[in-house]
């Protein structure tokens, strides 16, 4: 559905010629939980369609998260109003708040903390105004639990299944994650996150097609695209999928807001960035089998490599 707004704004995820799982989080220089891009109208439209058609797939929450959901709504609305004042407005008179979305010509007055004054749960409401997926992890017993989330553009996982799991349970399917104790190290890192000092990271995968809603629930539909990749169509058909993930510790409930902004770039656009093209070719060539398998690349990595090799060699010939 969506392609990146342009090469200059695309969050290219690699720094080195070799990729391995790691905690690649870095502190945020500009602590903003959300980013509004040119794709805003169509992505919000798609999000809302998915939420209407598949509510259980796209939104899940446990009842004890309501306080934290209000805290997230507060933080996101503040960021929208502060950083995009021409697009959003937030007027607070005590607990009587009015949120305005100028892009969509929508206005909502509500009483902060009173769920009955919003059309849906707070996280579900504010998520309908931002391109990011919003995940809420709550902390207890020195662990983090996925207790609520609005997830419309998942990279092949199921919020409905993962709800209520702790950090290690969620990541159990990732090969090598536990063996190298990466799960423990990342968990310890997350437990030390402080309010006011958010971090962010980028995660990547390759996608046969250009869907944002690559949910596990629809894998039987979009997964077939992996069999259709050829050297000839890879440039247009296969996309580099990058998630910009941000981590905010919430000061009142102590939970963590995890925002995921998904970007897609067709491989053919790498031609305009030879350093990216060369580096991605190196990375994909060297990628170990367990990462190839987990990222779902087994069926089409060969065709993509052939395509990239041709591109790299044709550039050398120039």
């Amino acid at each position: 559905m969506k392609q990146s707004d342009g090469l200059d704004s695309f969050p290219y995820p690699f720094k080195e010629d070799v990729y391995r799982y790691s905690n690649n989080s870095v502190p945020m220089n500009h602590p903003i939980s959300i980013e509004i891009t040119q794709s805003y109208p169509e992505e919000i439209e798609l999000k809302r369609e998915l939420l209407t058609a598949h509510p259980e797939r796209c939104f899940q929450s446990l009842r004890h998260t309501i306080k934290g959901q209000w805290e997230i709504l507060d933080l996101v609305m503040e960021h929208l109003g502060t950083h995009y004042p021409d697009k959003f407005g937030l007027d607070k008179k005590g607990d009587n708040w009015t949120f305005t979305n100028h892009l969509l010509q929508e206005k909502q007055s509500f009483i902060f903390g009173d769920e009955s004054t919003l059309p849906c749960e707070p996280l579900n409401y504010i998520g309908r105004h931002v391109q990011e997926d919003l995940i809420f992890m709550m902390q207890r017993d020195n662990d983090l639990f996925l207790d609520a989330g609005q997830l419309c553009f998942p990279a092949n996982w199921s919020l409905a299944f993962d709800l209520g799991m702790n950090f290690k349970e969620i990541h159990q399917p990732i090969p090598g994650f536990k063996d190298e104790e990466l799960d423990e190290r990342i968990l310890q890192f997350l437990l030390k996150l402080e309010p006011g000092n958010p971090w962010w990271r980028k995660n990547w995968s390759l996608m046969a097609g250009n869907r944002l809603d690559t949910s596990l629930e629809t894998f039987d539909v979009w997964g077939k695209g992996r069999k259709q990749v050829t050297k000839e169509n890879a440039g247009e058909f296969v996309h580099l999928r990058v998630e910009v993930q941000k981590l905010f510790r919430l000061p009142r409930t102590g939970g963590i807001l995890f925002t995921i902004h998904t970007h897609l770039l067709p491989l053919e656009k790498l031609e305009a960035k030879p350093e990216w093209l060369n580096q991605f070719y190196q990375i994909l060539q060297e990628l170990p089998p367990y990462i190839v398998e987990y990222k779902g690349l087994s069926l089409f990595r060969g065709a993509v490599l052939e395509y990239l090799r041709e591109q790299v060699e044709s550039r050398k010939a120039l």
């Binding site: 199921s158 299944f161 709800l163 349970e169 159990q172 399917p173 629930e217 039987d220």
Partner: protein
């Protein structure tokens, strides 16, 4: 749940809760406890088993009691739930199942739950018919393993 039956020493009171087949598996442990003159109780779960009685029996036990529950898997799951509801932690109990264990599989497409025998690698979803590959990814909330698309 563990398949190994080992005596956890040093407890003030031992509780043996088992069905008729399960009590045979526990007999060596019961003999050790008897010979050692250690405090213990036995409750047999029969065909006309009343879970309320077991629940009450578990609830009145004092701190320091250690529970061995041994039964056919489906009964054992109910016993485990009763014990947890009564306040027994993982460290205060051992659960030993026998026979064919049934597990639940969560369909990745329709979220329906299907029941199958443990060890069966694939299964059509009872609700939408999708052929599912049974994974080892488990959700406590759903009490089910995740079933992935088996064939593209």
């Amino acid at each position: 749940m563990s398949g190994n039956i080992t005596l956890v020493p040093g407890k003030r009171h031992y509780l043996f809760c088992a069905d008729e087949e399960g009590i045979k598996l526990l007999q060596p442990l019961i003999d050790v406890v008897k010979d050692g003159n250690i405090s213990y109780e036995i409750q047999i779960v029969k065909d006309n088993w009343n879970p309320i009685l077991s629940s009450e029996w578990l609830r009145v036990q004092k701190m320091g009691s250690f529970l061995y529950a041994t039964a056919e898997w489906n009964v054992l799951k109910k016993l485990k739930q009763l014990a947890e509801d009564a306040g027994f932690s993982e460290e205060e109990a051992q659960y030993i199942g026998y026979g064919k264990e049934q597990i639940k599989v969560f369909c990745c497409r329709c979220h329906g739950i299907s029941v199958l025998e443990k060890g069966q690698p694939e299964r059509n979803c009872d609700h939408c018919g999708l052929l599912l590959e049974v994974s080892d990814h488990y959700s406590q909330l759903r009490d089910a393993f995740l079933g992935y698309v088996a064939k593209l």
